[in-house]
């Protein structure tokens, strides 16, 4: 999933991109940030990206239906892509467990991407660490099963809301989750210069590559604007500023 997210974020900065010619999903990714930091928007953008790759449907799990679809990240909301995203709304942790445990029974083609928004809500219902570990492990197991059915990797991306003041329960969960998610993307309030605001999106691909960072801001209409983090050095600008070579 880390690779798909990287493509989404890179596309936001059109003048500079990493060439990712293989539509590989990458390792399971945990997306972290405070409320309002854009996790849902990014998840949704990743869903659209994967849907556009034509490798299979996308399964988006969240507790409540969206009141309105998240604003895109600059690309138009393509109805064809939207159709490929299957939304499911497990209202409780129990329902989520059931959904994951019975995923192999579900008919139809296996998803190429599994997304979950709001993991913290499901974990909060039952703070016992073993259950939290099992829920997390089941997410991976479900994605692994989809991969097996697809014959190629099914990506997994999960968003977790963090608080400004993390309490001990949060910290415990976080270390547990990091055992299972090799890749993480943090969305933190930060700005490259004085007088500016926004978020720093910091993607750690989990040992498969260097950390990459982007600057994320929101327009007044809610649209997410992404640019490479200006202070970034050491990233070879491969060739000219050709637009992303990723799949459309």
């Amino acid at each position: 999933m880390a690779e798909t997210l990287k493509r989404v974020l890179s596309r936001g900065g059109a003048a500079w991109s990493r060439e990712e010619n293989t539509p590989a999903a990458g390792p399971p990714l945990l997306l972290l940030g405070a409320p309002g930091s854009g996790k849902t928007t990014l998840l949704f953008a990743a869903a659209l990206e994967a849907a556009g790759e034509g490798q299979g449907p996308v399964l988006f799990l969240t507790r409540r239906p969206f009141q309105s679809l998240p604003r895109g990240t600059g690309t138009a909301l393509d109805p064809m892509r939207l159709q490929k995203i299957r939304f499911q709304y497990p209202p409780s942790t129990r329902e989520l467990f059931w959904l994951l445990c019975s995923a192999h029974e579900a008919p139809g083609p296996a998803p190429s991407l599994l997304l979950l928004d709001g993991l913290e809500e499901y974990l909060a219902e039952d703070p016992e660490p073993q259950k939290a570990a099992y829920l997390t492990a089941l997410l991976l197991d479900t994605a692994a099963h989809f991969s097996h059915r697809l014959g190629r990797d099914c990506g997994l991306m999960v968003a977790l809301q963090t608080q400004e003041e993390a309490d001990s329960g949060d910290i415990l969960h976080l270390s547990l989750l990091r055992r299972y998610f090799p890749a993480q993307c943090w969305l933190q309030p930060d700005a490259p210069g004085p007088g500016e605001h926004g978020l720093r999106a910091c993607l750690e691909p989990g040992g498969l590559g260097p950390r990459t960072e982007w600057w994320v801001t929101f327009r007044s209409d809610g649209e997410m604007m992404i640019a490479p983090w200006p202070t970034q050095t050491g990233d070879p600008s491969s060739g000219k500023g050709s637009s992303s070579a990723g799949q459309l």
């Binding site: 390792p27 399971p28 129990r94 467990f97 059931w98 994951l100 445990c101 019975s102 995923a103 192999h104 029974e105 660490p129 073993q130 259950k131 570990a133 099992y134 492990a137 089941l138 991976l140 197991d141 994605a143 692994a144 099963h145 097996h148 059915r149 415990l172 270390s175 547990l176 055992r179 299972y180 090799p182």
Partner: protein, 140 residues
């Protein structure tokens, strides 16, 4: 595969897999390495393998899960795709974050993969769902 083991453990397991192909037993040097890495869990895990305590359960969907009959007579469920075991020792090491890498049941599962020896059981898709769900109810 979502399994993420420390490189040294991965390497040991793959070397063992190659070595076991030639002879049915694990050469002593690997047993020593196992003991070094895992302490007493290594002996207990090997014991579990010897006693045929590991079962690979699969359903027509292709999804699989492992069950290990522990020394206490309790059966524990281990996921096939990533590190999870329903035993209390695993919860403890998960709680502690860095106490141990694997519990003896998970180690036994990996050893049984290396040695290609474990029981096999086929169940229906529905039964597999129940097996996976059972863990949530935490049987007494």
């Amino acid at each position: 595969m979502a399994v993420v083991l420390p490189a040294v453990v991965e390497q040991l397991l793959s070397e063992m897999a190659a070595a076991v192909q030639e002879s049915a037993q694990i050469p002593d040097e690997y047993l020593l390495s196992l003991k070094f890495l895992f302490g007493s869990s290594a002996t207990q895990a090997l014991d579990l393998v010897d006693r045929q305590s590991i079962t690979l359960i699969s359903s027509p969907s292709g999804r699989r899960v492992y069950q290990v009959l522990g020394s206490s007579g309790k059966t524990y469920t281990c996921l096939a795709s990533c590190h999870y075991c329903s035993c209390p020792a695993f919860a403890f090491s998960v709680l502690r974050k860095s106490d141990s890498i694997l519990c003896k049941h998970l180690l036994a599962v990996y050893l049984s993969q290396v040695m290609r020896t474990c029981q096999q059981l086929s169940v229906s898709d529905k039964q597999l769902t129940d097996i996976l769900l059972m863990e949530k109810k935490q049987e007494p």
